[in-house]
Amino acid sequence: MTRVAWILLFFPMYAFGQPNCNVYKMKGDSMCYHGCLAANVDFPQGSRQSQLQFDKAIELCPTLDYAYAEKAVPYLKRGDFVTWRKLIDKAVELNPLGHLGYRGWCRFQFVRDYKGAIEDIERLSSLTRFDIGYGANSDYQLNVARALCYKALGRKQQAIQIIEKQLSQKDYSPMTYDYLHLGVLKLETGDDAGAIVYLKKSIAYNDYLAENYYYLALVYKRQRKMAEFKEQMEKAKAYYLKGYKRFDPYTSPIDKIYLSDIERELSTPQ
């Protein structure tokens, strides 16, 4: 039971940071102060008490975007995207800067609504001159997520340009999967040399991913370097079996590979 307990401890993942209610107190907005306090009461995410608590918060303070956004989360995670969208739209309407990036990210990750995700992220970019922030799982700068949406829509060169531009930003620290995605994009667009550079960079940056070796093996396969192919693919398998692989508890990430992908490659006569 211990493992389940640990997971449950973290189950409100993708929840928002709780607002500082004193902001409303200082403004003399008693209703919103109490609404905010109500929204901060912790009930299990998605429970009846929790949803009713957010309703209470919204009744006291109809402009409390946090309450709408937080109330929306369990619908998203449980596949009711219609209800999720109604609630998150309200949060976006009240606070576009605070929620557009999140909504865009979720449209990408959960709904695979690539066009919608791009619209949200690009609208957010148009509203601020600062960094637009990160996806809800903190693994992606939103421009990289946007690039992956373009990739999914078949616009791979545009995806490459966006990631390269993001990586060249002066104060940007690459995120865990940036080099992997760029390497895979190079592979998919026929740039073997570029793919090798970025996949090796990805290995140097984060050597806990079977995906790095899997895609590197595919480059060597295309180059007919079959010894290197086999070596890298076997390494991918070993890493996969050790649990060194892409993982998300909710969805299947872009460029994730599975054991069957590796075994198919290893078993195909070369």
């Binding site: 449950l8 401890l9 449980r78 969805t251």
Partner: protein, 168 residues
């Protein structure tokens, strides 16, 4: 952790143990599926109706023999969906995987590209529902001592009747 868990567990599932009263605005948990004698198989039973988890509670993502590609391949091979103009959007089928790995209480939700509710053609719904019911590789959620029931969903992204992608 062992001391924390019972309290945590009770807190989380206190709501599940509550009955659904007529007029309740929300079910004990968002997405709960109660037995409906008109549509549900009476032979399917969760092992513990009072605490049906969500698939993501176990930190393993979607659990199916052969992982996600087995599901993708299954529908790719078996879903005989012909091209139908206008049959675009997202069709979600939500259900329970019980502690024996059996499935039941299937519910279908349709959504268009603008996130509005949508009724897909019966033939499309029937085909995907039939195939989803036939899936028999769901992994039983468990820990060292117990097996658990959980809710799972599959969302089918369709474009003019063509199956494009399956989530989650």
């Amino acid at each position: 952790m062992k001391q924390i868990f019972p309290l945590l567990f009770l807190t989380i599932f206190h709501s599940c143990a509550q009955s659904v009263k007529e007029g309740d605005k929300y079910p004990p948990q968002v997405g709960d599926i109660s037995f409906d004698k008109n549509i549900d198989d009476p032979n399917f039973k969760p092992c513990d109706e009072s605490r049906v988890f969500q698939y993501y509670n176990f930190g393993k993502g979607l659990q199916y023999k052969g992982e996600k590609p087995a599901i993708d391949q299954y529908f790719k091979n078996k879903a005989r969906l012909s091209e139908r103009a206008g049959e675009s959007g997202f069709l979600t089928i939500r259900f329970i995987v019980n502690c024996e790995g059996k499935t039941g209480r299937f519910r279908v939700m349709g959504m268009d590209a603008q996130y509005q509710e949508k009724q897909f053609e019966k033939s499309v719904v029937d085909a995907l529902l039939f195939l989803t019911r036939q899936l028999d590789g769901w992994v039983v959620a468990h820990d060292d001592k117990n097996k658990f029931d959980y809710y799972q969903y599959l969302t089918f992204k369709l474009e003019d009747g063509k199956l494009i992608e399956i989530m989650p």
